[in-house]
Each structure stands twice: as C-alpha cells, then as structure tokens.
C-alpha cells in the first residue's frame, strides 16, 4: 500500500469529519421511534390513506376535533387563516432518507385539498400566486436548486447564484418570502474558506439576486441560527448565541436587528432563541421565543416585546409542541403530537389554536405527513365545507 495514500485518506477523513453533531439526537430518535410504533398499531387505516394519496396525488384531512382533547377545547368556527403548505414530506416508499426525495403538499384553494408537488421545499407567497420551491440535498448527485413556481402554470423559474458567490443555494438555508411578498431571503453560510456568511435577497419578479455580508452570522452565532424577516419586511433578525465552554452548552444572549444592507439597527437582550416559525405576530407587536433545541415534557413559548426584549408572558403547554405560527395577533397555532398526548386526549397529531393564556380555542387535525415545515396563509377563496374543516 502506498503509505502516502493511506496517510492522505486518514488525514482527510479526520479533518472533514471533525464536526459537532446536531443537538437533541436522542430525543428526536425516541420521538420517531414512538411515532413508528404508533404507526404500526394503526397500519390499516394509515396504509389505506397513504395508498389513496399515492394514487390520486391529494391528501384529505380529518374532521377537526376528532377524538376530542379531554374537554379543554372551546368551540370555534371558520377563521381567516389556513395551512397553505406542508413542506418536506418523507415518502415511505423510498428507502433513501435523503431530503432530495422528499415532496411537499400545497393547498388547492379550488378543491380544499392538498396537492402533492415534487419539491422537497415549498413555501407559497403571501398572495398565493407563486411558490418558492427547492430541490436537491447539496450532494454531487442531487445539487440543490431554488426556484419560483407559478401557481397557475406550475412552471418554475430557477434562481441563479449572485455574482461572486459560490455554494448558493447549496450552503444556504431554504429561502423565505418577506411578509409583503416583495423579496425572498436566504441565509447563506458557506463552508470555511469559501467566503463570508451573509444573506441573499431575491427579487421574485426579475430573479435578480444580491448578497449582503453579515459577519455576525459567524462571530455571534455559535448555535448556527438562520435569519428571520422582520414583520415590516424591511429588515432581518438574528438570535445571538455563544458557547459556554465549561458547561458545553449554548447561551442565547439577544436578538439583533439589521436593515437590508446589513447595518445593525438594534439589539435586545433575551435568553431564549427567536422561534424558527412564527417569530413575530402579524402586527409586529410581539415576538415568540422558543428553545426548540432542548424540548422538555412541557412547552414554553415566551411572548416578548421586540422593541425591548421584555417578557410579556410565557405560554405554557403541558406537552411537547411545535410552534407553527401566529393565527392572529393574540393566538398561536401549535402542533402537538399524538404519541405525547396525555391520558384521555386524542392519540393523533393535532393543531391547537391557543390564546396567550394558553387556553385552546380551536382544534384541527393536520395531514398525517410529518413535514419539515408548515406554512400558513389567508383562507379566503376556499369552498365553504373545506373552510369549516381547515381554517382557524
């Protein structure tokens, strides 16, 4: 054996695998194992539903409140909001777990059902006319691409990398529409030695891209958070974090706001990261802070003032939950999982609309899909029967 090859291969493997594992591995594995166990117990119903979905390419949703929620649910009628997309759904028929094979479900406003689209990421624009889509897993076989799909024609215009930027969108987080729908934001974190971190803004009409360097992404972001749009669409926000070497734990130190040129506007002290989804209420008067890396047996969503970081109140839920977004300025939509339901509660996943005192005001049943992300939008235009089931 050529000792040079041996040495080079050993050194290469050592060098490129020296990375920190993601947090919460055991908890996520236990949660998935519970879900798989539950899925096996309900094989008949689920398999029939999946087979139907595969054949017709759409997924029906259950009736709200199926199974009840132990008497905690207040009555509720059709509302102004709806889940517009379940993004990043794993296809159980494909053994390879690469996200390149994931698909997404988009709400069809004409039928009130969810249509399957072959994109691992899909986020409808605020007006619903376009969809930001993503494919690939940044591998050689499946390079990542991001594009904008016209909802009426289904045609996709692919976004090119900004001049001088390598690894886009490969080393960028999936983009997000600004609340006003005029821009798309990608947090760009290239590999070491391949440039500076920052963000890419895309004009969805012209597909013109621009890169804005943001050194804080590397220097004040030990936990690796992405950027979030501010509710006014004229800036971005970043959760600042440091690593406590002694305790080997991340500490959140604040939220920093920037304008779209990357200039710092303000920093407010907080101790919990900005929520990945639903960070700000629609009117911008509140922000939601959640420690999603260290979930516990209960969920605490801290509602705070974006101007000062001052805590308004904690919204406490007695079970693990994921914040999906804001139903309105005083209500949150959370996703709770059937396998963590308390005794007497429904054993399937549910969406709960909760007010800021943690009272459940409406319950809905999500599509049984296990998506990576869920996006909300306006419900106007849905058929009445679908609106009764889907809106909040």
């Amino acid at each position: 054996m050529n000792p040079q090859v041996t040495e080079a291969l050993r050194d290469t493997f050592q060098e490129f695998t020296d990375a920190t594992p993601p947090a919460g591995l055991a908890r996520a594995a236990l949660r998935r194992a519970r879900r798989q166990r539950l899925a096996r117990l309900t094989t008949g119903a689920v398999a029939a539903c999946a087979a139907l979905a595969a054949v017709v390419g759409t997924v029906a949703v259950g009736l709200p409140g199926d199974g009840g929620t132990a008497g905690r649910t207040a009555a509720g009628g059709p509302g102004p909001s709806v889940v517009t997309a379940y993004s990043g759904v794993r296809d159980p028929k494909i053994a390879d777990p690469s996200p390149a094979y994931n698909y997404s479900l988009l709400l069809n406003y004409r039928t009130g059902r969810y249509d399957r689209v072959p994109y691992r990421f899909a986020m409808p624009s605020p007006d619903g006319r376009r969809v930001l889509v993503g494919i690939g897993d940044n591998s050689t076989a499946h390079p990542s691409r991001a594009g904008i799909m016209d909802r009426a024609s289904g045609q996709v215009r692919w976004i090119e990398a900004p001049p001088g930027i390598t690894g886009f969108p490969g080393y960028s987080q999936d983009g997000h529409w600004s609340p006003d729908g005029r821009r798309i934001l990608f947090t760009h974190r290239p590999r070491p030695g391949q440039g500076t971190g920052g963000f890419v803004l895309v004009d969805p009409d012209t597909l013109r891209t621009s890169f804005v360097a943001l050194p804080d992404l590397e220097t004040h972001n030990a936990q690796g958070h992405g950027l979030t749009w501010t509710p006014t669409s004229d800036g971005v926000a970043l959760t600042l974090s440091v690593l406590n070497q002694q305790e080997n734990a991340y500490i959140t130190t604040g939220i920093r706001f920037y304008d779209l040129s990357g200039k710092e506007q303000a920093t407010v002290p907080v101790q919990t990261p900005l929520a990945r989804s639903g960070a700000f209420s629609p009117d911008g008067g509140r922000m939601a802070l959640v420690d999603e890396e260290s979930p516990g047996p209960e969920t605490v969503i801290n509602v705070a003032d974006p101007a000062t970081g001052a805590l308004d109140r904690p919204v406490r839920l007695d079970r693990p939950a994921r914040l999906v977004g804001w139903a309105d300025d005083r209500h949150l939509l959370v996703h709770v999982f059937g396998d963590s339901a308390p005794p007497g509660a429904a054993r399937h996943d549910q969406f709960l609309v909760v007010d800021l005192d943690a009272r459940v005001t409406r319950t809905l049943r999500p599509v049984d899909a296990g998506p990576q992300e869920i996006f909300l939008g306006p419900a106007a235009g849905l058929p009445a029967d679908a609106a009764a089931k889907l809106t909040f």
């Binding site: 090859v5 493997f13 695998t17 990375a19 594992p21 996520a28 594995a29 798989q36 053994a95």
Partner: protein
C-alpha cells in the same frame, strides 16, 4: 420503552453522538445526509434498545450505519453517478497549503464514489478495521472487501487524475 430505559438511551447517545456523527459524516460526505442517516439508525436503536443495551450498543449502531448507508446504494444503483466538478490544481511542493488542497481535493473525489466503495475506505482508513471485520460489517467476504477497496482507489484515480499520490496503482491487498 419505559422512562428509565429512555434515560439510559439518552445518556448513551449523548456520550457517543460525536463519534457516531463523525462516522456518518465520513460515510456520506454531507452534513444533512449524515444527520438523516444517523437519525434513521438511532431511531432503530431506540426501538431495539431493550435488546441491544446489554451487548455492545455502539458496535450495533456502527454496523447499522454502514449497512443502512450501503443498502441505499442498492436502490440507487440504477441512477447515474455524477462526477465531481473540476478539482483545484495540485501544488507539487509539499507545503501546508498543498496538504490542505490535497485533502480538499480528496474529500471532493470521495464524494464521487458509490456508497459501498466509500464505506470500505472509511472502514479501512478512518476506523482502521482489518478486512475480516470489514467483511463482517458489510456482510461480504474478505476477498470482496479487497476488490472493493481496489476498485474504490481506481475510481478515485479516475475522478481525480490530477492527484499525484494516486497515480501509482495500488495492490488489491494490504
């Protein structure tokens, strides 16, 4: 799984997550795929924890990582391999920059290998396993391990012809 077993499983994963993730990263060459691979295997480990905890759970999980990764290949092998993009020119002088470039180029070339070929190299050069153990982990014979290793190195030469150190043809066995 009861609460005590869950705590035990969580403590084990917390202690070994870094090592297992490194193996997953070596096998996939891509962080997101490594996370998915490891999560898939850990989920299986959680399901069987009551059975595997009394043996050598790390060996079980490592073997599962390799087998899971290489089994995907069986379902993927009809898809064409894609060669990596142009590699950086290699400096001839053996200075620090050249070493960094060499490792980067090798890493990129490794990404062009089929998962089974890559797995053999990871087991040999990252984990320093003897061929007998590699054969056991990959559920094949030792001669298959040697031929796979030789093919992997040959493929690396094809992908990265400018890497001087690969120019000398390797013997199939060590």
């Amino acid at each position: 799984m009861d609460a005590e077993l869950e705590r035990e499983f969580s403590a084990f994963i917390e202690a070994r997550a870094h090592a297992l993730f490194r193996t997953a990263l070596a096998l996939t060459g891509h962080r997101q795929q490594a996370e998915d691979l490891l999560q898939t295997v850990l989920t299986r480990g959680a399901r069987h924890w009551g059975r595997i905890r009394t043996g050598n759970p790390e060996a079980y999980l490592r073997t599962a990582l390799y087998r899971q990764r290489t089994s995907w290949w069986r379902s993927l092998k009809r898809r064409p391999e894609v060669s990596t993009a142009d590699l950086p020119e290699m400096a001839s002088a053996r200075d620090e920059t050249a070493t960094v470039d060499l490792h980067l180029a090798l890493w990129q070339a490794l990404n062009g290998l089929a998962p089974r070929h890559r797995a053999v190299l990871v087991l040999r050069y990252f984990e320093d396993r003897p061929d007998s153990e590699i054969a056991e982990i990959l559920d094949c014979t030792e001669s298959t391990v040697r031929s796979q290793a030789a093919r992997a190195l040959a493929r690396l030469r094809e992908i990265a012809p400018r890497l001087d150190i690969l120019a000398t043809k390797e013997a199939a066995d060590r």
